[in-house]
Symmetry: C2
DNA sequence: CTTGGAATTGAACGGTCGTTCGGTCTATTG
DNA sequence: CAATAGACCGAACGACCGTTCAATTCCAAG
């Protein structure tokens, strides 16, 4: 037998990427076999090669897609205006975006080491593009004196690490919902750079 | 041939653990073979089994050692006294301890998924023990009113994520040395919970 | 100087890996 | 209704996996 009824590249392609994302996030790139991905989709291992030239490209494409979406989504969300408003918006955006796609986030952070040199360089550049966002924002707030930032670069890294950390513990249906978490973190983010907020 | 001259379990054992730690951190547990570890130590793969019953135990022991050392080291560093002093000390301690053993830290954070259920439960419990440290500390500062903490649990997680994040970018010989990094982060940690520090 | 245990080798086990490919069937096009 | 394009199967490739084990050699104790 071959080519079973109902087969359709337009459907199978996305399912391959989705299955790979789930499995890579759960078990790690190296620990997941092409046969496992294929089984999840319900096809033979050989058929995967209609959708990706190899396993490495599957990973690379998934990381690039995530990072490109991340930066373009912020560009569309950035409210502009004063630095405090923008920082508040950034903190909330980052948490929301990351909580919406935990698997992609996990992979983008943890599988950098699984990338071969070319792919690593590409992905690393995209990551740095996003890291420049809070940095520019803090620099602006620092320049106008509304924020007290001892070191813009460090504060930017600290901010991202703090916000991304939400993904390690947040679970839907827990004590706080997403918007409550956003509130608490936005306030801490502002406090971190010396902006006091009302309502203790 | 067998048993070459100079062989010594007292020397080889630690070298096996060190090689495994380096390789697991660099490439991930699943991506490292017993043969690679053995080659790094300069012995055959079979000889590894004099030092560990299996690969999984190698990982488990390494994670347990790290987390036990982490909590006992804080117990010996905790200055006691008021919450602000202790939080400052905690931030500095966490950064220093983590920068001193980046491989062990990386593994403890990233290879939880590589642990089989029993091992996972043990390691997870140790991790929670340490996470309770900043939480208790923030609760104390919040109770006396010297800190403004909207949510103790979240602030504790945010603090740890922020501090651990230093490991992702810090390199010796960079723009700032360790104590300068400690200064900046300790200040941000205090700001995060509403404690303003002098000297903007 | 002998002897026994410890450290190690290297071959071997069954299994899985990523990837290739010839053949086969289905859906679509003309 | 015939032909073509392409989705898929399943077997096969060589390589490597974690682990075991008999054989071998070295070191230390008596």
């Amino acid at each position: 037998m071959a080519r079973p009824s109902g087969s359709d590249a337009g459907v199978t392609g996305p399912r391959v990427r989705a299955a790979a994302e789930r499995l890579f996030a759960r078990h790690g790139y190296a620990a997941v076999s092409m046969r496992q991905i294929a089984a999840e989709v319900g096809i033979g291992a050989g058929a995967l090669y209609h959708y990706t030239p190899d396993k490495q490209t599957l990973l690379r494409d998934m990381m690039r897609d995530h990072l490109v979406k991340l930066t373009t989504a912020w560009a569309q969300t950035d409210p502009g205006g004063d630095a405090v408003t923008r920082l508040d918006a950034f903190a909330r955006f980052h948490i929301r975006f990351h909580l919406d796609r935990p698997d992609a986030v996990f992979i983008a952070y943890m599988e950098l080491r699984s990338l071969e040199p070319d792919a690593f360089a590409e992905i690393e550049a995209l990551r740095k593009t996003y890291e420049a966002v809070p940095e520019a924002l803090l620099r602006a707030g620092s320049a106008t004196g509304v924020m007290q930032v001892a070191d813009v670069k460090l504060a930017g890294m600290a901010l991202i690490a703090m916000l991304t950390g939400v993904n390690t513990w947040y679970r839907d249906g827990g004590r706080l919902d997403r918007s409550a978490v956003e509130d608490v973190y936005a306030r801490m983010a502002l406090g971190m750079v010396g902006v006091q907020t009302v309502n203790a």
